[in-house]
Each structure stands twice: as C-alpha cells, then as structure tokens.
Amino acid sequence: MGDWMTVTDPGLPAESKTVSQYTSEKKMSPSSLYSQQVLCSSIPLSKNVHSFFSAFCTEENIEQSISYLDQELTTFGFPSLYEEPKSKEKKRELNIVAVLNCMNELLVLQRKNLLAQENVETQNLKLGSDMDHLQNCYAKLKEQLETSRREMIGLQERDRQLQCKNKNLHQLLKNEKDEVQKLQNIIASRATQYNHDMKRKEREYNKLKERLHQLVMNKKDKKIAMDVLNYVGRADGKRGSWRTGKTEARNEDEMYKILLNDYEYRQKQILMENADLKKVLQQMKKEMISLLSPQKKKPRERAEDSTGNVISDIEEDAGELSRESVWDLSCETVREQLTNSIRKQWRILKSHVEKLDNQVSKVHVEGFNNEDVISRQDHEQETEKLELEIQHCKEMIKTQQQLLQQLTTACDDDTTSLLQDCYLLEEKERLKEEWSLFKEQKKNFERERRSFTEAAIRLGLERKAFEEERASWLKQQFLTMTTFDQQSSESVKLFSAFSGSSDPDNLTVPSRPRQKKPHSMSNGSPVCTSKLTQSLPASPCTSDFCQTARSCTSEHSSINVLNITPEETKPNQVGRECTNQKWSMASRPGSREGCYSGYSLTYTSSHVEKDDLP
C-alpha cells in the first residue's frame, strides 16, 4: 500500500500538468482525454496502455486494489467502500451498494467535469477568436496610422512647396511691380526725351519752313494767282466791308450774342426740365402723404413712436410746400426744407416697408404652426376644388356659348321672338314669385302688427282692471286713513312727505335689502322720484300714494303706482312712461307679476313707438 502511494502520489501533479497541456495545446475529444487521464493517473510515465490496463487489477490483487480505491475515495471524501465493521477483529467487507453509489457519483462527477470542460473550451475558443480579431484590428489600425502619417507628411511637404511657390510668386509680383515702375519711369523718361527731340526737330522744321516760306512766298511767284472770268457777288448780296475797329467790336458783340443765346436756350431747357421734375416731385409727395397719413394714427396708438411726430411735421411741411408759391421760389431757399421733408417721408416709408417685411418674414417663420394659417394640404385641396369648379364653369360657359352661337346662327326671326318671349315669360315668372314672396312678407308684417295691437289692447284692459282694483283698494285705504287723520290738508301732507328727509329714506331704505340687484334699484328709484316731483303738483292725491308706497310691500308695485299716476294726468307722455316702465320692469325679474307686466308692456311700448315714428 505504502509503495503504491508513493508511486502514484507524484503522478498526480504530472497528470494535471499533462491535462492542462493537452487542453491548451491540443483540442481533443473528452472521451479520449478521459482515457488519457486514466492512463496517466495510474502509471504516469508509461505509454503502453494495454500492458498497464491489464496490470492494475488482477486475480491476486483484488483486495489490494479495492483497499487502494477505498483509500483513494475516502481521501476524496467519498464514503468508504467497506461496511462498517461490527467488531474490530472482524474483517471489513466490501459494501457493494457503497461501491455502486460511489461509482455513480463518480460518473456524475465525471459528466459534470466534462461539461465544465466543454464550456471552458468553447470559451477558450471564443476568446481565441476574439484575440485574433483584435490582433487583426490592431494590425489594421497600425496600418492606417502609418498611411495617415505618410499622408500628413505628404501634405506638409505640399504645404511647404506651396508656401515656397507663394513666396516665389510674391517675389515675382514684387519684381513685376518693380518692372512696371521701371517701365513707367522709362516711358516717362522716353516721353520727355521724345518730346524734347520732337521739339528740337520741330524747331528745325520750323526754321526750314520759315526759310521755305521766305523762298517761296517772297520771290513774287507769278504763278500764284487766281484766274477768274468775273467776280461773283456774295451769297448774302452784301458787299464786303472794310476791316476796322468797328467790325471787330461788332464781331465780339455777335459772338457774345451767340453765346448768350446758347446759354439762354440751355437755361430755358433746364428750367423746363426743372419744372417737370418739380411737378413729378410734387405729385410724388402728394401721393406719399396720402399713402402715409392713414397710418399716422396707428403708430401713435401702438407706441409713442417717433414716426408720429415726424409725420405731423411732414404734414405741416406738406401744407407749406403744396402752396404753389413755394414752388416758384428758387431752389436755394426751399431746397433744405424740401430735401428734409422728402428724406423724412422716405424714412417713414422705408421703416414701414421694413416693418411689413418683418411681418412677412415673421409670418413665414411662424409658418404653419400658427393656428389661423391654413395648412398647406387644406390649401391645396381647396385650390384643387376651386380649379375643378373653374373647369366646370368654363365648360359650362363653353357649352353655353356654343348653344348661343348655334342659336344666333341657326335661328331666324321667329325663333328669336319666341326666345324673347321665353325670356319674358321667365322674367314674369320670376317677378310673380317675387311678388308672392313680397305679399307673404306683408302678411307677416300685418299679423305681427295685429298681435302688437292686440297686446296693447290687452294691456290697456289689464291696466284698467288694475286701476279699478287699485282705486277700490285706495278707496278703502283712504277711508281708513280719513278716520285716522282728517285735519291735515293734502298739500301740506304732500310737502311733508317729500321735503322731509325721513320720508324718502323710508321709501328707499326698506326696499334696499329686498333688492337682488342694487344697482338696478338705484337706477330705478331716481327715475321714480323725479317723475314724482314733476308730476306731483298736478296731482294732489299723490301724497297718499307715497304713503301707500311706503306701506306697500313690493317695490315694484310702488313704482307702478307712482308711474301710472302721471299717466293719468299727462296722457300724451304715454310712450315715454311706458318705456320707462318697461325698463324698470325688465330689470326686476324677481317678481312674477313684474315679469308678466314687463312682457306685455314691451309690446305696447314698441307699438307706441311705431305709431310715433311716422
């Protein structure tokens, strides 16, 4: 046993080494690997598989090999292959179950290992390919780097060359400039020299000429002569005049006259041109002013623009300048004014145009996200539709034209008359239709009118009934009152009722908390009071009404009462009163009665108004 141990123990690391070696260097199938392992583990150095395989377990060393395996397994943490001995002396027996279990576990382990190994191998493969790829990439990049470096060098070289060239060109330019300068100098010197020479030559020439002149002219050349049959008269019929100082002066005069005439003519032309230009200017000015003045208010309203002031200035200027007399002034005096005003106007116009441009550009920029801008699609659709319509219409027109042409060409007088009749009939028909429509409208109007009058009558009746009712009620009240207070006169009562500060307060104050809309009441009450003050002197009994009003529970009824009283006294004021009533009623929708009467009253009032109108 001990021998075996010593033999096998050093083998283990060697085995693991070989394994690692194999896996790393050779890609072997796991089964073969396994057999190799086995081989290695049993006898590490021998390569002869068969001899070794047969050597491990023989008939004789079963026990030993079992015990060896047991030992080995226990060292690896497996349960022992032997049964637990019951007694110390008893020989340990081989537990087959344990062996099988061990075997199974070993197999499972083996399988696991194989799997793990496979995984590791694939990973290894992957890593290897990754490595290759990366190496390739690296190589490529290196190449790229190299090429770009080369390129850079090339470019640098070219740059340098260009710079060189540039320098050369600069030099050349400079040279050329110098050359030009030199040439110009040469030209100038040559010119002076030439001129000098020319002058010299000319002098010589002149001398020669002089000499020649003397020679030719002074020898009394007989040949130089004019042979004329007879002298002719002058073209103007005058005789030649002697040369005197007078003629000289006359010539001068004439010359200046001619010049003067020319200048006058030119001045006239310029004046005419000026007048035309002024006319144009004036017209333009007017147009400008008319164009600019409607915008005058806008900029002022928008903001305190400076343009507003300018425009007003312009208007003043325009007022001044439009006077004809100013135009007749010489330019000197008007020029500044004119140019200033024009400049101002122009500025305004420019700013306006710029503003418009800005607006336009803004609209463009905002474009289609603006909601009230029609989207392009809609627009296109619409245009398409319209185009179709136009097409349709055109076709219609064409056919109509054709028909017309046919008619005009084909038909004779009868048909034309017939046609005319047709047209007349058509016209008549249309007129009839219109007439009936008109009648219907008239009827409607009549009906409305009737309803109005009916309503008015009804209102009148109602009013009468109401008055009667009220009269009876008043009577009753009066009767009760007279029993209460008989001495006081009516006029005094009236006075006290209205001059006294407490009474009107009483009239209004209690009504206030009942109001739903205080402002309507405040509107209503003064009307009432004023009416009262106006009408009261005429009606002595109103003081009582006041009192009744005070006692009255509803405001509206009191107003009714108060307003109706003047109606009795002043029947011609019905319309106005009614409208007043209507107004006050309408503002008080709280009470049902008010509503109703208001409704009826509106009718009457409108009716009355209608009557008043003509």
Binding site: D221, K223, I224, A225, M226, L229, R234, A235, N251, M255
Partner: protein, 460 residues
C-alpha cells in the same frame, strides 16, 4: 429698292449737292453733274488734270475741283457753264482745299502746311493764315458758317484761332493745353469746341467760343489714347472712342463721363440682338421678300446671296489680334457716328472689324450688333431717320433700322465692290461707290414705304 444703272467714277469722287438736286462725279479729268431725279447729265466740265478732290459750295452753285499734284484748284459754276475760275498755288504746292461756308471763299493749304490761303471769289482779296497745324482735322467750321476754328502750331505749342468767316478777322487766339493736338471740332450748336490730343496721350479739351476752357477730360494715362471723336447732333453728347476699345460719352452740362461703352468680343446679355450675316444658298422663292428689286437681273451665280440671322446668346465675335510693334495698331474704336436724331450711336472697334455696334443713347446701352462676313469699310446714317447703311467692300449694301436689318445685293453684271457710300439729303437714295463705278440705290419705291425699313421707332 431700286438701283440705277452703273456710271463711271474715279477716286471715289461722287457728291450730292447740298440742296439735294444734283450729283457731281469725276471721271479722270472730267466733272459730270447730273440731276438726281433723272440722272440726266446736266453739265460736263473738263479740268486740267485728274481731279483729286471735289466739293460743292454750300449754296450748290459752285463746285471745286482740286488737283493737288498740279497745285491747282478749278471752280465751276452750275448756273453759268462758261464761267470759270482757276487758282494756282504755284511752287507753294497744295495739299488741301475746301470751301468756306459762304461758298465764296476757298481755303487752300499749301504744302508743308506753310500757310492757308483764303481766296475770295467776290473780290480780288487774298488772305493768308500762317502756321496751320499739319494734323488730321485742323479746320472746323461751325454749322451756321459763322466761325472757323483752326489748329495752329507755333513755337512747339498748340494754338487754336477762331476766325469770323464773314471777313476773316481773328476773333480769338488761345493756347491749348495739348502735347500734340490732332483734331478740333465744333459742337453742332457752334458754342463749344472739342480739342483732342494725339493718340499718345488721352486728352479731350472743351473750349467755349470765347476761348475759355470749359473742361478737360483724361480717362487714363500711359497708353494709346483717343482714336475718334464725334458730337451728337443735339450737342448733348461727345462720344470719344479710344484705343482701349471703349467709347466714353461726355455730357454737355458737367462735361463728365456718363457712360462707357466697352466693345467686348463675347456677348451674353440676352437683351442685345446680334445679327449675323450668313451666306445663303440661292432660293429663288424666298429672297427679296422685303425688297423686291426692280431689276431682277441679279445673277445668283456670281455672287452668293447673304442674309442676316439672329444669333443666339452667348455670341463671340471674330477678333483680330493687333500687331503690337507697328504704328497705328488695328485696335480701338476708329469709327463713330451718331444717328441724326441723336438716339443711336454706331461704332466700330477696329480689332473686331466685322462688327458694327449700335448703341441706344436713350437707354445708354448696347442695342444691336451686326456681324458681317467681311470687315466693315464704312457706315453712314440716313440724314432723316435712324437708318444705317453699311458697306464692307463686297457687292452688297447692308441696312439697319430699329425694325430690323437686311443685306441687298447690288445688281449688275460683274462685281460691284462697294467701297464707300453717301446718302442723299432726303434719305431716299444712296450712292454706292466702287473703285471705278457708282450707282444710286433708291430706297423709297413708288408703291410706298417698304415694310422693313419704313417703320420708325416711334421717336421724333
């Protein structure tokens, strides 16, 4: 459009009389005067030698024939054929001869510009003007004939003398601020004199009649300067064409440039109409639409017909590269002419010799470009309306008006190279001059105004 028969001519000497009644032409030493309406020979004068220059007097009564070689001027009267006058300059020689505006004086310039002799036909008097400058355009009469401006050179300085033509009295004499004056010209109103320097220096000076300097203008320095100058008939504009291929318009109020007309070879503005002359294969049915010639003898075989085509933009015109190391290089605006109503300006840029540029003065922009097949020899405006006649040395005459343009073949046997042309006063007819022939071209047919050219543009 009708053509007259072809008459003989020498040295392009053919002139309409100022009153428009007569036509004078020279054949060697003979002077022939015809009536314009009938072309019948009215008078025939025989001169001493081959005539080199002819000129009508302003009243159309006399004709001057100058024979420079002999130093002789002969004057003929139309009213009195037997009347004759011969002026002999003798050993002094003769280089130029012209009428004074009154038609009674002749100004002869002697050789070497020693002096100008003023011969009077009325009296025996002879006046001499010393020191005339030998230059392109040294004599200028005002349009009303009152004044003569003369360029002079004394002591290496330029002067201008203004004479009263009535009695040849010196009115003004002033020094001009020029290096080498080459031309002077009165404005049509006779109040402003334009003076310009030689091409070595760009300089235009404007003097009043009384000798005051009104203004001077210089567009640039150190380069060849002015090549041509023209006043507008209204005296409002002075057009200055220069070697840089530009025309500068000066106004008469401030005498400053209002605009520059460049003459680029490449045009791209779609507003400009470019008429391109193109050879046309003879199509008997289609030609002569606008101008049916009354002489249908036109031989289609000898000369190729041409027509105008409207070129589509952009257009590049044929340019000529000027020789830089020779004098008078072919570049710059060498020809300038205002239409009689001052509404148009026709120009030719000499390094684009085939093109005539017509500028609209009212809008101050290029209006039309006519590109011919061969270099433009001459162009003249109709004195009555904006209508331009152009010749290129071929046997065609070209007409442009705002309504359009056309090319007309000059009928007749053989070639008729039109070297020059001149309008009749009325604008009804046009004399076409070749090396030794001339013919008249009648534009207004008896049936009425031809449709293509009769329409005016609507401006007065």
């Amino acid at each position: 459009m009708n053509f007259s028969e072809v008459f003989k001519l020498s040295s392009l000497l053919c002139r309409f009389s100022p009153n428009g009644k007569y036509l004078a032409s020279c054949v060697q030493y003979r002077l022939v005067v015809r009536e314009v309406s009938t072309l019948q020979i009215l008078q025939l004068y025989t001169c001493l030698d081959q005539v080199q220059h002819i000129e009508w007097s302003a009243d159309s009564l006399f004709i001057l024939c100058a024979m420079y070689k002999r130093g002789v001027v002969q004057v003929w009267s139309l009213e009195q054929p037997e009347w004759h006058c011969k002026i002999d300059e003798g050993s002094a020689g003769l280089v130029a001869s012209c009428w004074s505006p009154d038609g009674r004086h002749i100004l002869n310039t002697t050789e070497f510009h020693l002096r100008i002799t003023v011969w009077s036909l009325c009296t025996k008097s002879v006046s001499y003007i010393k020191y005339p400058k030998a230059c392109q355009q040294g004599i200028s009469f005002t349009r009303d004939g009152r004044y003569l401006a003369l360029a002079e050179r004394r002591d290496c300085r330029d002067y201008v003398s203004v004479f009263v033509c009535n009695d040849w009295q010196l009115l003004r004499h002033f020094n001009t601020d020029t290096q080498d004056l080459v031309g002077i010209e009165w404005a049509p109103n006779g109040c402003v004199l334009a003076v310009w320097d030689s091409c070595l220096e760009y300089k235009v000076l404007l003097y009043s009649l009384d000798g005051r300097l009104l203004s001077s203008y210089c567009a640039y320095e150190w380069s060849l300067g002015i090549k041509s100058v023209a006043w507008s008939p209204s005296s409002q504009f002075l057009a200055v064409g220069s070697y840089d291929g530009k025309v500068r318009l000066l106004n008469h109020v401030t005498w400053k440039v209002i605009t520059e007309f460049a003459h680029p070879a490449a045009l791209s503005d779609p507003k400009i109409v470019v008429y391109k002359e193109a050879k046309k294969s003879p199509q008997p049915g289609l030609d002569h639409l606008a101008f049916p010639p009354s002489l249908p003898v036109a031989n289609h075989l000898s000369a190729a017909e041409s027509k105008y085509e409207i070129a589509s933009m952009p257009v590049s015109l044929q340019t000529l590269k000027p020789v830089a190391d020779r004098a008078n290089p072919r570049m710059g605006v060498g020809m300038l002419a205002f239409s009689p109503d001052s509404c148009f300006l026709a120009t030719r840029n000499d390094n684009i010799p085939n093109a005539v540029w017509v500028w609209d003065i009212r809008k101050l922009r290029l209006f039309v470009v006519l590109e011919q097949l061969s270099p433009v020899r001459a162009f003249r405006w109709d004195p009555q309306q904006p209508r331009l006649a152009i010749c290129t040395g071929g046997s065609k005459v070209y007409l442009w008006s705002p309504a359009g343009c056309l090319s007309v073949q000059v009928p007749g046997e053989g070639d008729f190279p039109v070297l020059s042309l001149c309008w009749h006063l009325s604008g009804d007819s046009l004399a076409l001059l070749s090396k030794d022939h001339f013919c008249l071209c009648f534009l207004e047919t008896k049936e009425g105004v031809s449709p293509a050219l009769g329409q005016r543009d609507g401006h007065a």
